[in-house]
């Protein structure tokens, strides 16, 4: 076991060698190529580095280092755009939209590993991808991310059903699947059951990363802690509860992007354009679960990036015109980053509840009693944006495009609606229960904040705080009145959020409100596969109007990610869909400062 950090000494040594290198006229990038260590803390333990066995942020953070996916998102460009990763170009769609041809990039190499003959990684070929797609569908391995390709590819669901019945050790990887067609060593075609433009997003998810079949066949269990892929970093050593060390994959196939968004060139984000990634030789990822030591280590320069929680925001930042600013004592040392996340929080209103489901005016009154800006200011120290529609702000189709506005905190309007609902001043209205599956103190604060607001209008609230699984069980059984629960985007398309309220997704599906509105469903089906544009916006606006009128849920807020990076970190731009920035980052400046 070793979590030692003698990195300061090494960096001092590095300062000497770098200085000597520069004196000899070597290019700076070459001089700095070795011995540098990027340190990014993990805040929670990971489940598995095997892409099909774990679909959660802490595992994705590592899977993105070891593996590559067929597609990925452009690092700098906004709005988020899919681009080829293991592919030579974006998949080519057939005229009927029912098949896509994929062409693999040539010369992509797996990491060197003992699973290969002679321990030398070989080139990635189409068979590897098809093997991984079958592995992804194997019900004995994948319970968490199967939804990404469920009911999409011809024959794949049947293959999954067969794996479910097969004994644990049975190898079905040779079974033919009609929807997976190999053309030659670097080309294959995927056949769809029906037209679906959204299915390509699945291939940018870490869950569909390509593992070396040799490693999976030798010991599939071992992939959980011994990844063998084509990713930018190769695992050097690991301790589940300690430091995970990675070294640069010298044969990695990707370069730093040459195109960026507005202001990226001015911010110096394009200086590394065209250079082969990753830039930093060694990456260390210690597990630091508590916020205090994470922040202290960052302040001391032992971590390169850190996300801030409420306490750290209070201590290190101030707000100016709704944006955070670093306190003056930190501005010379750190750079602040802040970005809306791809999550949306809602107050769900159960349409099956005998009281709330039948009383639209009461639901509308509730929407006007929610002081979301007050919640954000008081409870979240400003680390969120109020939401006017069901879609988080960075996604195309959000209120930035549709113009949707929140119902807004309006106690007078709420009182009028309460009277209209048959409960003037709240008289005769039973106490309403708010269910919540989050344990953090912030949620208690939030409930107390809103309880006071509601009480002022005569509406009494009581809380039902439980653990997350118990909460999910009860809301899926429609056993609640009001529930605080959010949704995290699976892909950056508004469809992923609007589907939350369609009738066929009613509880136990993700439509917790069990909302069923034929016109909403029609608008959703019309917009689902439509490309972004004015025609789609018409349908999205109609859905927003229905939600605002019927109030099956009240959109609350879109959380912000607020963090700091050391000033010596280069190329950092907060990305909502790439969990681990390390393969893009570079370190600059005299090592003595670090």
């Amino acid at each position: 076991m070793s979590h030692t950090h003698f990195r300061f000494d090494r960096r001092r040594l590095l300062a000497g060698t770098t200085g000597a290198a520069l004196a000899l006229g070597w290019p700076a990038s070459q001089a700095q190529a070795d011995g540098r260590i990027l340190v990014i803390a993990r805040s929670d333990p990971f489940k598995s580095m095997d892409p099909v066995r774990a679909f959660e942020d802490n595992s994705s953070l590592l899977q993105e280092l070891a593996y590559s996916t067929l597609l990925t998102y452009a690092w700098l460009e906004r709005p988020y755009r899919l681009e080829p990763d293991l592919l030579e170009r974006l998949p080519e769609r057939s005229a009927d939209g029912l098949s896509y041809q994929f062409t693999l990039r040539r010369g992509v190499m797996f990491h060197d590993d003992a699973c290969f003959p002679g321990g030398k990684g070989r080139e990635l070929v189409a068979d590897d991808v098809l093997f991984n797609l079958r592995r992804f569908a194997d019900a004995r391995l994948n319970q968490e991310s199967w939804f990404l390709l469920e009911d999409m590819l011809v024959g794949l669901d049947e293959y999954r059903a067969a794996t479910l019945k097969a004994p644990p050790e049975a190898d079905l990887s040779g079974t033919a699947v009609a929807g997976l067609v190999k053309q030659d060593s670097h080309r294959f075609t995927l056949r769809l059951k029906r037209e679906n433009t959204l299915f390509l997003y699945a291939f940018a998810s870490p869950a569909t990363s390509i593992v070396a079949p040799e490693a999976a066949k030798v010991d599939g269990e071992r992939l959980a802690t011994h990844p063998v892929g084509t990713g930018p970093y190769r695992l050097k050593d690991f301790e589940r509860k300690g430091v995970i060390r990675w070294v640069r994959h010298a044969g990695y196939h990707r370069s730093y992007p040459a195109a960026g968004g507005a202001g990226d060139a001015e911010a110096g984000l394009l200086k590394a354009a065209g250079r082969r990634r990753p830039f930093v030789e060694t990456l260390e990822m210690p597990l630091i679960e508590e916020s205090q030591p994470r922040i202290l280590k960052f302040l001391r320069g032992e971590l390169d990036l850190v996300n801030l929680d409420r306490a750290a925001i209070d201590r290190m930042l101030r707000r100016e015109n709704g944006r955070y600013q670093l306190l003056p004592e930190y501005t010379q040392r750190f750079t602040l980053y802040q970005s809306e996340r791809l999550t949306a929080m809602y107050l769900w209103i159960n349409q099956k509840d005998p009281l709330l489901g039948r009383n639209k005016a009461l639901r509308q009154a509730i929407a006007h009693l929610l002081d979301v800006p007050g919640d954000i200011e008081t409870v979240q120290r400003g680390a969120a944006q109020p939401l006017g529609s069901i879609v988080p702000l960075p996604i195309a189709g959000s209120e930035r495009d549709t113009g949707a506005r929140p119902a807004g905190y309006d106690p007078e309007r709420a009182k009028a609606l309460l009277a209209q609902a048959g409960f003037p001043e709240g008289r005769g209205l039973a106490e309403l229960t708010v269910s919540c599956g989050f344990a953090a103190i912030e949620w208690r604060d939030r409930f107390d904040f809103h309880r006071a607001r509601f009480a002022a209008a005569g509406v009494r609230l009581k809380s039902n705080f439980t653990d997350q699984p118990t909460f999910i069980k009860s809301v899926e059984a429609s056993n609640f009145q009001l529930a605080l629960y959010g949704w995290v985007a699976d892909y950056p398309d508004a469809e992923n959020f609007y589907q939350l309220l369609i009738g066929r997704n009613a509880a136990p599906g993700p439509n917790l409100a069990s909302f069923s509105h034929p016109e909403y469903n029609r608008a959703y089906e019309a917009a689902r596969l439509m490309a972004a544009g004015p025609e789609r916006l018409v349908h999205l606006r109609r859905m927003n109007d229905i939600v605002r009128d019927e109030v099956p849920l009240v959109p609350l807020y879109n959380s912000l990610r607020v963090g700091l990076r050391q000033n010596w970190v280069r190329n950092h731009k907060y990305h909502l869909l790439i969990s681990n920035a390390a393969p893009y980052l570079d370190l600059e400046g005299p090592p003595s400062r670090r």
Binding site: S2, P45, E144, S145, G242, P293, L296, P469, K473
Partner: protein, 310 residues
């Protein structure tokens, strides 16, 4: 003695069976569904059923309990639900790390508390006794969390005397564990000194002590030769009954200092609904408690020849 041992062994088996049954029933009745916890927002009926089957949670309760009992008998608790790690290895490794965290301050704390308690008992009723009471009661009133936060900030970050957190095995361990040891010592010494002082003061008034004084023995000799041996049983009880908790480590310290011990494992498992880990740790803790209680009884005979086991 043999009859005593056999009887205590029978009692121990009954206790462990009772703990296993209670643990099993409580987890099934009140704990959140681990399958739902694992699958999150994308749980659909088929995934839930598949994972339930994979983890053996679809079997009849009696069959699951029998499996749990056989795991206890074979000391093989299977694998973690969350990451698939072998629990015997996970708990074995964690226990050694936790012992590295807790044993040195425990031993140092015992020696220091007995010495300080003797010193305070020597000065009973005087200014030193009053000062120590104020100091230790004040120290005991401060939450352990405050010690951790303040000392990590002050001594590790501000003064830079210790690493902020981290852990390494072998010879590098003390470098990382020094601050956690100091904190554990600071937290535990107050209650122990207070307890041992009271125990010693009870003995101070005993007849044989008065006789020793009457024979002209110095106060220091009276305390060390006559009071301390006779106060050994409560000290022994307190010490031995603390031993099982050493293996469990310190939840707070392990968490704040990123030390991969059992305490940290328990906190993570609680957060993730990793019930195989929690069940294994609960039963192993019960086993350790039973074993150390038995050890305490046996040590009584050694400490006090008047005690007879029957």
């Amino acid at each position: 003695m043999t009859r005593f041992l056999l009887r205590r062994l029978g009692q121990a088996l009954a206790v462990v069976f009772g703990v296993a049954l209670l643990t099993f029933l409580l987890f099934h009745a009140f704990a959140p569904d681990p399958v739902r916890a694992a699958l999150g927002q994308h749980a659909n009926a088929s995934s839930v059923a598949a994972l339930r089957a994979q983890w053996g949670l679809d079997r009849p309760l009696l069959q699951q309990f029998w499996l749990f009992l056989s795991q206890i008998i074979h000391f093989d608790f299977g694998r973690s639900f969350v990451n698939g790690d072998d629990l015997a290895t996970l708990i074995g490794n964690g226990a050694w790390v936790s012992l590295a965290v807790t044993v040195p301050p425990f031993v140092a704390g015992l020696l220091i508390s007995v010495a300080v308690a003797l010193f305070v008992a020597y000065h009973r009723g005087g200014r030193i006794d009053r000062l120590s009471r104020a100091l230790f009661v004040g120290g005991m009133s401060v939450s352990a969390l405050v010690y951790v936060i303040v000392l990590q900030y002050g001594l590790a970050y501000k003064l830079g005397w210790f690493p902020i957190n981290g852990y390494a095995g072998g010879w590098a361990a003390p470098h990382y564990l020094l601050l956690p040891w100091l904190i554990l010592l600071a937290v535990s010494i107050g209650p122990d000194v207070r307890l041992y002082r009271n125990v010693l003061l009870n003995e101070v008034r005993a007849d044989h002590v008065r006789t020793a004084r009457a024979k002209g023995a110095s106060e220091a000799r009276v305390l060390v030769r006559h009071v301390l041996p006779n106060a050994a049983i409560p000290i022994l009880t307190n010490t031995v009954s603390s031993l099982p908790f050493l293996i469990l480590g310190s939840l707070l310290l392990e968490r704040f200092f990123s030390i991969p011990g059992i305490g940290d494992l328990v906190v993570s498992s609680l957060a993730n609904g990793d019930f195989p880990v929690l069940k294994a740790v609960t039963v192993l803790s019960a086993l350790a408690l039973v074993a150390f209680n038995l050890l305490t009884d046996l040590l009584y005979v050694w400490a006090d020849p008047r005690v007879r086991l029957a």
